[in-house]
Amino acid sequence: MESWDIIITLLIIAGFLFFLSAIIALYWAAKNGQFESIEKGARVVFDEDEPEGVEMDAFPQSKPKKQKNHS
């Protein structure tokens, strides 16, 4: 068995494991309830410091606009 054969075998096994890990990740996500609270999930980017409804960026030395989100 030349080195090429060994390496390609290892790579194919590794590739298969890699693919398997993706399946496992998807399964874990479903099991863990990642697909359940979709509305709440979208709001994960906000919290007390940077709450929803407040614009978080402005040009320097400009008057920041504090608009509450009315939708």
Binding site: E39, G41, D47, E52, D57, P60, Q61, P64, K65
Partner: protein, 484 residues
Amino acid sequence: MDTTADTELNKSEGVTERVTLSKIDQSMKWAGIFFVASSVVWLMIGTIFALIASIKLHNPNFLASLEFFTFGRSRSAHLNAMIFGWANNAAFAVALWIMARLCKSAVRHGGLLLIAGIVWNIGVTIGVFGILTGGLTSVEWLEMPVAVTPILALAYIMIGVWSVVAFVHRQTGHVYVSQWYVLGGTFWFPWLYVIALVMILMVPARGVVQPITNWWFAHNVLGLWLTPIGLAAAYYMIPKVIGKPIYSYYLSLMGFWTLALFYNWAGIHHLIGGPIPIWLQTAGSVASVMMTIPVIVTGINHHMTAVGNASAVWRSPTLRFVVFGAISYTLTSLIGSAMALREVNEVTHFTHFTVGHAHHGVYAFFTMIMFGSIYFMMPRLLHKEWPSANLIYIHFWTTALGITGYVVALTIGGWIQGIQMNNPEIAFLDVVQNTVPWLTARTIFGVCITIGHIAFFIHFFWMLIGKTQPLNEGPTLLQRESDA
């Protein structure tokens, strides 16, 4: 802003408590600064080589006497400096920071991250130097001499492992879509790199298996590393800055999983019409077209979230760049899917159209999103405001107009080139002559972009080194009016 949940990092027990955003930002401060600073430096280096390479294509005598700057070396140095220098450093900074914030856990062992960054940049420096001195491997996207690979691997492992550790110690239940993308990219990138290295350079495969591996690798660096990081940033920045959640979060998750499914196969579209089995070519074409599913889905999310808030987008330096990037993502991906169809490919293959498309993706999408993310991230890391709004305006307008002109010039020029090459009546030399005005236009727009980069470079280091500005009451810094 102390809340009951705001406790110190409990080092003795190794337990991370929920920490406020500012503490997370501070824990990432030095690593973040280092990565972004390196990326900005590499951006300038890559830009210089870009100009040299671009000028040489229509003025071959430019710097012709200097061995270091021959086109093959300049172009390869440009590519590697931009991808492994600018893009990867920016990706590390932004991805780690978003991951830390979304995991709601402070960076542990930030010093390690800093060392990893230094090792990474040493590797890339040696690599680019190796290219300029003629030691390039002549394999696309793998031009850096093989000897630097262990250095890059070591650095990457440290960074990648950190990302996974942060995820494992997360304080949140829900895994936000940006975290999915960052984790995906973290796993995909080393896999791609190792396979390509082994099968092309170390134990070379025979015959056409090499280019097949090469283009699977090169395209996936774009699709399974840079794209996920770019999308992760966009999915974080757009809702964060506007203050509204993503338009359809369910669609975004679907977009992630379909991207994971389809993108891997698409790379073969670089070899359509080549001496490789037709089923493989068809797989590449089909996967590239199926990619329109995640692209449309992501497009819906980004655009619909931004669309009702155009003024908020305009008011925010971050979102000007990020939304530009998001729009470019949709556009470049749809064009890319079209290019994978055989009929279109017969015209665009081997022309400047492909170059324009590549820059549409890496620059108009990824780089612009990175610019926006850096504008958002740095004030929070440094607790300083960006000193000058004008420099941001200059940066935005020169790069936005520059890359638009660049892509348009090469798209039109490349299409004409392709049509003419398929016409046996037209001599090849004439076809080449006809591309020169478009290449000259490209250089001009490249100079426009360079001005923007210079503005960004100056602005970044001014902010870094300059005196602390009086804290703006604006929302760029996590200060509420009540705390002022």
